[in-house]
Symmetry: C2
């Protein structure tokens, strides 16, 4: 006879398996869907959403949770983690009236298309009512779930359980203080990375290089694959990870670094304990920690000298003619090019965080009511000018550039910057505690780093919340100083000598 805990886990795994099927539909939509089959796919998504919702809100889960909470003294610490998160998820799934969920889903779909159109025509006014409604829905959702007094904190908590706007504000303020002068100094530097170094890199050879790099970093291709889509992403679970990339014959570094980024996400998922898949113990901590994994591999590792010491000969062997006139120094500078841009997704890692600071500040003002949606473009442009020293010529390259808000994805942007901070702090710890790590990299061996991340982070699933995890692993509170020191060291060394 299975125990109530076992029965709960069976229910959770069942709902989770349905979710992984829905994820695969999403992956297939981006990678394989024939052009006129979108309606059929939408119908499939709809039935899966309904099915998932029914599974996640089954009254039996509520009964089992109540029983387990009553007898919580009999549960192990791990079991308590599962129950706590299952309760949170169950309440969030059941406390929202079906009509509200349907209204939000329908609005997200409409708002996405309105955003895509508005972006195309750089016409914010056409999109503004959709954004207003999304804000109203977000406030209403927070209220329904008991976060009525802190709707933006609720938005953050959805992606990074346990984090709050106040904590993030403190971190970002300190980061900004150090980042602004660093950016100013680098932008005043005479050193400039050459652009257009890369022309005519055949996709097939790019594919070979990308595969070698990501496999050597530690991605397990026996439980995953990489395909092509318009925008790179990583989906699936550790049992079957589906990453995507895109190729441009004249920009091999774009494909390479976005693939390494997705590989970082993929290796995190592959490191979560498979036996616990579907419960909090087999789930990532949140988006900030997820981003820390992708950024650590993409930036700290793959933009380092030692990484290129190992891979440059292989890169040149695949593209001997294309790289004949490119010196090693020029290649390394191109890998670490710093150049201001209005577009977040094109930003280098020095500027990137400023793009996030901007969005975080505006999201807070929208939620507090200090800023009206109609005034958002002007506020965006002013803050952009202040932080990035550039002013968007239109809303397409300003407030309309990101997809997130069009689906009501508020509170997500901070995770990117928090991820950068966590990555830098983890990196500091590994350099203190894993001696000779860079010698490993120079030999193409990344296994000690991956093993450490597995032990310290991946294996715990959602056992610890973000801040507690950082404290346990690094021995210190999360601080932007590690990120600042890392940026000063790497980019100062290149641009400020």
């Amino acid at each position: 006879m299975p125990t109530p805990y076992d029965r709960l886990v069976t229910r959770l795994k069942h709902a989770h398996a349905l979710g992984t099927v829905a994820d695969l539909l999403g992956w297939d939509e981006q990678v394989n869907l024939p052009p006129d089959s979108a309606d059929a796919r939408a119908a499939q998504h709809a039935v899966m959403a309904e099915t998932q919702h029914a599974a996640a809100t089954a009254p039996e889960i509520g009964r089992l949770l109540s029983e387990l909470e009553r007898d919580s003294a009999t549960l192990t610490a791990d079991q308590l983690v599962t129950v706590r998160h299952a309760r949170r998820d169950y309440d969030r799934a059941t406390k929202l009236p079906t009509e509200f969920v349907a209204e939000k889903a329908a609005h997200s779909s409409h708002a996405y298309h309105a955003w895509a159109d508005a972006k195309k025509h750089s016409d914010f006014a056409a999109y503004a009512p959709f954004l207003e409604k999304h804000l109203a829905l977000a406030r209403r959702e927070a209220e329904l779930l008991g976060w009525g007094d802190r709707p933006y904190d609720y938005a953050i908590d959805r992606h990074d359980p346990g984090l709050s706007a106040a904590q993030i504000t403190a971190l970002f303020t300190e980061l900004k203080r150090g980042l602004v002068p660093l950016v100013r100094d680098i932008r005043a530097s005479k050193v400039q990375a050459a652009t257009n170094l890369f022309q005519g890199f055949p996709v097939e050879s790019q594919r070979v290089f990308l595969r070698e790099v990501t496999e050597r970093l530690g991605f397990n291709y026996r439980r995953g694959r990489i395909d092509v889509s318009l925008h790179p992403f990583c989906s699936g679970t550790g049992a079957d990870i589906r990453m995507t990339t895109r190729f441009d014959a004249d920009n091999p570094l774009d494909s390479l670094f976005s693939s390494i980024h997705e590989t970082g996400h993929g290796m995190y998922e592959q490191g979560l304990p498979l036996a616990h898949l579907g419960t909090a113990l087999g789930q990532s901590v949140g988006m900030a920690v997820h981003e820390s994994q992708s950024r650590l591999w993409e930036n700290q590792v793959a933009r380092s000298r030692v990484f290129w010491k190992f891979f440059e000969p292989k890169f040149r062997a695949l593209f001997p003619a294309q790289l004949a006139a490119v010196s090693s120094d020029a290649l390394y500078l191109a890998v670490n090019a710093v150049e201001p841009t209005l577009i977040r997704v094109d930003a280098d890692e020095v500027h990137y965080n400023l793009h996030i600071l901007l969005r975080f500040e505006l999201e807070q003002k929208l939620f507090s009511g200090v800023l009206a949606v109609r005034d958002l473009p002007a506020a965006w442009n002013a803050l952009c000018t202040e932080l990035l020293g550039q002013t968007p010529a239109n809303d397409r390259e300003g407030v309309l550039q990101d997809v997130h808000w069009s689906s009501g994805g508020f509170g997500y942007f901070p995770s990117y910057c928090l991820g950068n901070m966590i990555a830098a702090q983890l990196w500091d710890t590994t350099r203190r505690t894993l001696s000779g790590l860079e010698d490993d990299f120079a030999r193409g061996d990344f296994s000690r780093l991956l093993g450490w991340l597995r032990d310290q982070i991946h294996t715990h699933g959602r056992r610890y919340e973000t801040m507690e995890l950082v404290r346990r692993v690094t021995g210190a509170e999360l601080s932007p100083n590690h990120l600042l020191a890392y940026l000063r060291e790497r980019y100062g060394g290149l641009y400020l000598t």
Copy 2:
């Protein structure tokens, strides 16, 4: 307020959409699944099967059906078709106890692996108990559904509603009478197709040719695609068809003809009325008619002189060196090579039907109890020797060659041969009624044939059962004489002149 009929259709479409998601999982498994992700996929299949079963057996469907059957006088002829088939499906889904369904599913999985092992080691005895249990389950299933006195007819009816073993026996007996002397004569012929004509056909160019051919035949790639898998198949619905093929640099015709075969299946599905997807009006008639569509395009069309008149220059343009020493006559003879083989899936269209006659006779004897499972290999070999003039050296190339029985797929084999008969009879009708059709083909225009099949067959969905459909479309009862005449004409012309 939706009518009871509308509510029934909503339910049917919901269950159907879940089925299409499960199908996509199956497609992805054959095309994309990473090698170590099979367990995760099995778990996904299991939750989808459970979900589908719940949707197909929802008591609300039963209530709606009873209501509609009571008020059937108010329904249109089309609505009656939907209701009649929905009732049949609902009864089949609800009358089988859950434990029986679970037992059969579990046994199918075990039996599949037992079959694969047994085939590998050519060890029928190890597989015999699994086949025996499958027969017992099939009999029990027929009994539970009220077909206890005709279990083999039930097995046939599952794939081809309305057909019976007696009807098929009559057709096959007549076919055999004409086929055996034809095969004997061709095998005595001095004309022999050269084998090994084709070496070193690069896969990329094969892909280009295949795409051009299948697109020109009429496959709509805006609602479908073709990928690579170990065994070619066609899945999905007209809204999103997923075909597969395989490539061998030394056997371009294998890939080409199997792709044309799947294209025939795919175009049938694409021709079913999309608005009725999920009901009988948007569903194929059965496997025999489905096979008639794939065979018609593969054989009657793509092995014809006029087809090659158009495509041969394109084929040669893509493979000029490889085909330099191959004459047009040799190429055409290779396309229509007749050569006995013990393996059904490798058989040419003259011999193919004999392979089916063999299986149909043995299935009947197994179901009637005249033949015991333990005596099956000997019976297979004896009948094979009689019909094909060759004796398997072992069970791998004999009774263990096909996968069908390992999942309890009895009653399916006859559909292949019935499909060949229907294809030939349809072909006769088109030649009588669509004048100048072959001139179209010689110009690479296949639209009149496809349009005719759309009007005569595809658009009706499951409105008519197999025999009635054939009668309506061709003006005559289904008869093997059309197939015999076609084979005599095409192969007599090549081998008996």
